[in-house]
């Protein structure tokens, strides 16, 4: 197909999507000097109020820190809610986000196989394959994810393997779930028993600090509003990428997987 032709075809997409995106094209109205003065005054007032609030003693409790911004390399000790001593809940999580300044795309020879709108008998085969590959059932895995997350997509990443010096056909390397939470945040969970799940971007970080969830060590990188988490648990390697998700929600997600 000609590229310009493809662009023309793309031009005929549903009007609702064009309208939806138009919100980003609203002309910026120039503020009057008076409005700018009031805006500046309002900012100063907010900063002063915030200064006062954060000077209050109860805010100095470290557990009160906002756990949102991946820009700061932070170390959080998350105590259990009640403070009661309980063998099962005594374990603490420690989360350290390794700030990353830059990421880069990586080209990979990968094919993706999407499991959407497939006949029921094929879907049953997919479930069998998933269980045989990962050792956990699709239902067990998906039901462990918190209810605030909705599954958007489920697919596998396929690569070509070498066997007896011969390049084989494409075979499954990872199973991937894509979720969206109630607040518009997204999570992509890749699982593989065959080594680290494939990642189509580079993360440059020397000697990353480890985190720990329920006794399992993991590495969390932070880049803009994204977190990249990698760990191994019960013989499976996980790679979880989130965007627009607060650290608390990530922690909850990780706890649902690492029990």
């Amino acid at each position: 197909m000609k590229i310009t032709e493809f662009c023309e075809i793309l031009g005929d997409i549903d009007d609702k999507y064009i309208e939806e995106t138009k919100q980003y094209y609203r002309a910026k109205k120039r503020k009057s000097p008076k409005a700018e003065y009031f805006a500046a005054a309002a900012c100063i007032a907010v900063i002063a109020a915030a200064g006062y609030i954060f000077s209050l003693p109860y805010i100095k409790n470290p557990n009160f820190n906002e756990k949102v911004n991946p820009d700061d390399s932070i170390y959080l000790q998350n105590d259990n809610e009640s403070g009661k001593i309980d063998d099962k809940t005594e374990e603490k999580n420690s989360i350290s986000v390794n700030k990353v300044e830059n990421i880069g795309s990586a080209d990979m020879d990968v094919k993706y196989s999407y499991y959407e709108k497939i006949p029921y008998d094929v879907w049953l085969m997919v479930l069998d394959d998933f269980y045989n590959f990962t050792g956990i059932s699709y239902e067990d895995f998906t039901s462990s994810i918190p209810a605030s997350w909705t599954e958007n997509s489920f697919y596998s990443a396929l690569v070509r393997y070498y066997k007896e010096n011969e390049l084989q056909e494409y075979g499954v390397h990872d199973y991937i779930f894509e979720y969206q939470n109630d607040y518009g945040g997204e999570a992509r969970i890749a699982i593989s028993p065959e080594g680290k799940p494939l990642r189509d971007l580079f993360i440059m970080c020397d000697d990353p600090v480890l985190s720990e969830i329920n006794g399992t060590e993991l590495i969390i990188y932070g880049y803009e509003d994204m977190y990249f988490t990698e760990f191994s648990y019960n013989g499976l390697n996980y790679d979880i990428e989130t965007s627009g998700v607060q650290l608390e929600a990530l922690e909850e997600l990780l706890e649902s997987i690492i029990k």
Partner: protein, 186 residues
């Protein structure tokens, strides 16, 4: 003036309709044309042709979403102008970069003659867009429908240019696989 009133003016063959769309959607159409053509003079010409085309097509058409209707006309006219200019070797715009990106999965050889196949492709692309999150869908449309630059998208979505490039790269790969799974090797 609301869109229904403007369309009434078109149907009454009242020339105030042109003034109304120029006031309400002129800037919007100008952004689309400028993104594709890269210069204000050519963009202005395309926007004026958009008004003329709207005048000639409403009636018989009665667009439900006037904004998208005008945007599509501007986009088509600008792309036609771009093709003509490219034949005359006038390049160096954002659209050239975007065509380079698309060339990663489009052969740029055969043409789709069949209207049925064309409509099928539009449907698949709509399905693909529907499955994306709103933010990613908007980024994709900003780049490949509105022909926005990476730096503009970066500013609009408050993400770094690097991050936007990575996201768009993934969306292109996802669309390629999505089309391929449905039997379209472009």
């Amino acid at each position: 003036m609301d869109d229904a009133k403007i369309i009434e003016l078109f149907w009454a063959r009242n020339e105030n309709a042109i003034t109304a769309i120029s006031e309400k959607y002129g800037a919007y159409c100008r952004i689309i044309a400028k993104n594709i053509l890269g210069n204000s003079e050519d963009a202005e010409e395309c926007v004026n042709n958009t008004y003329l085309s709207a005048w000639n097509s409403i009636p018989p058409n009665k667009p439900e979403k006037l904004c998208a209707y005008l945007g599509k006309i501007t986009r088509n006219l600008s792309l036609n102008r771009y093709k003509r200019d490219t034949a005359e070797k006038r390049g160096g715009r954002e659209s050239t970069l975007i065509f380079d990106e698309l060339s990663e999965f489009i052969s740029d050889k055969e043409t789709v003659e069949d209207e049925f196949e064309r409509q099928e492709l539009i449907k698949i692309i709509n399905d693909f867009l529907k499955e994306l999150s709103a933010e990613k869908r908007n980024m994709f449309i900003c780049r490949y429908w509105y022909f926005d630059s990476i730096s503009d998208i970066s500013a609009r979505f408050k993400k770094s240019e690097n991050n936007i490039s990575v996201i768009l790269n993934r969306l292109r790969a996802k669309l390629r696989d999505y089309l391929s799974e449905r039997g379209y090797e472009l």
